[in-house]
Subunit: 284 residues, 2 copies
């Protein structure tokens, strides 16, 4: 941790949803030298109880009560749930509350926050951390250590909110960087959503062969690791970013067909060139 | 290590090629409590010197001299080089020498060994270890710890050679298992070569977008890790297994197109089903 909580402008933080991201944020905030009080909600009562028993959550509460009392409300829920909560909580937040989501597609939630007049208090965040494991069980205090976190400004009126959000992410060890929502969504379509779709397609293809996953070597395990990601979350993410996925999916199909044709034609020079090009990019 | 070298039936082992696999084998054998003497060759004189200076290699030698003197000759070279060495060394080996290769496609070398009348002394081996990093610099004594190693029997006359090979691999911590060469090549086409091609295609697709590799999150890094693999080696491997790659490549294209169509059609139910199916396979 590069900062302790003494520099955080919040003493009461609310976390709606104790999944991988929300749970890890709660753990990381409580690991600070002077930790804030955490109010949290979870759809899983047993997980919430466990978080209280561990001293991570001081106040188990409903999302509506969290919204009404926290100085910083973090919506760590799937995109559709976050949108529903923003709508439902619009008359509940404290005057001075900062609002943040952590979803991996940003245009929709940023537009909604703007429409709700939250330009001065809402910050869209997307930590590039985690992976295929989900839920409170996978949450850990060091999940964000060194991780890039994208923050999407709503406009100049949100400058103070943005600075406060940056303090929070730096406090848990992350590297926040500002990016416009559309630019963000295009970036993750290529660098996150396309790898996810590819890993899932690869797993589906191998599964169809009848070979079990434990026949994979270390390389095959790496390449298919993302395929274990939760289906419901990814259905939402891909639908939310479907328009910006057109180009990446077209490019992936093209690259696969090119390599397939080279193998079929026993064209060693073409295989070599494609592999060299990809290796240069990946190793740089 | 589950066995010490006292149980190995070889005191003088020759390793032709000190890359990731040959170098790791040499390191692992020298880490045994009563290590054998290692003679080794490398195309890289500086690496060979380093291996001698570290006490891993006792006798730097040419491949021909290694072939003439070692009780176990391990060809840890790319497939084409291994085939050339087997041909060139056919009149050089000791009467009692065991010969082994470590290539990842087995039909060609097994057929050649059979044609050379080596049924009683040649064992084809393929350790499912390593990854995208190559060369002596990446070699490590524990590379084979817990790793599956496929061994391809040439026939009943090779039973003693097979048992000796199994002792060697168990000594370095690996889990040897016998498999027929064609069955092996089909297995790795699906579980190793298809993931490699897919990772390379994915890296090529993202590279074309202009985003650098360091824009990837942890999941994208996993999914593209194999793309850094050495092009020359993979050109050889894919050409050697091109016939058995037809089905896997067709299945991969089909799975990718299916997911692409589901995203394009905003068909949440189809996305959910494909993701669920892949996750079940990967998590089992």
């Amino acid at each position: 941790m590069t900062t302790d909580a003494g520099s955080l402008p919040f003493r009461r933080i609310g976390v709606v949803g104790l999944g991988l991201i929300g749970g890890s944020l709660a753990r990381a905030l409580r690991a600070l030298t002077s930790p804030p009080e955490i109010a949290a909600s979870s759809l899983d009562a047993a997980e919430l109880e466990a978080a209280v028993a561990e001293g991570i959550v001081q106040r188990p509460a409903s999302p509506a009560r969290i919204a009404a009392s926290a100085e910083l409300v973090i919506y760590a829920t799937p995109p559709a749930a976050t949108r529903a909560f923003l709508q439902a909580h619009a008359s509940r937040w404290r005057e001075d509350a900062l609002l943040m989501d952590v979803g991996s597609v940003k245009r929709g939630v940023v537009e909604q926050a703007r429409a709700l007049g939250l330009g001065a208090r809402f910050v869209g965040a997307h930590p590039m951390a985690g992976g295929e494991r989900a839920g409170w069980a996978a949450a850990r205090a060091d999940l964000f250590a060194g991780a890039r976190v994208w923050l999407t400004p709503l406009g100049p009126e949100g400058e103070a909110a943005m600075r406060a959000a940056e303090l929070v992410w730096r406090a848990v060890g992350a590297r926040p960087l500002r990016i416009e929502a559309e630019k963000h969504d295009r970036l993750v379509a290529w660098t996150s959503h396309l790898p996810q779709i590819t890993a899932t397609a690869l797993a589906a293809a191998i599964a169809a062969s009848g070979f079990p996953a434990d026949a994979l070597g270390p390389g095959g395990r790496d390449a298919t690791r993302l395929a274990a990601s939760p289906a419901a979350l990814w259905e939402e993410i891909l639908l939310a970013n479907a328009d910006l996925l057109e180009d990446p999916l077209l490019a992936m199909e093209g690259a696969l067909v090119k390599l397939t044709e080279a193998v079929r034609a026993r064209d060693g020079a073409a295989i070599h060139e494609l592999f060299t090009h990809a290796a240069e990019w990946r190793s740089r």
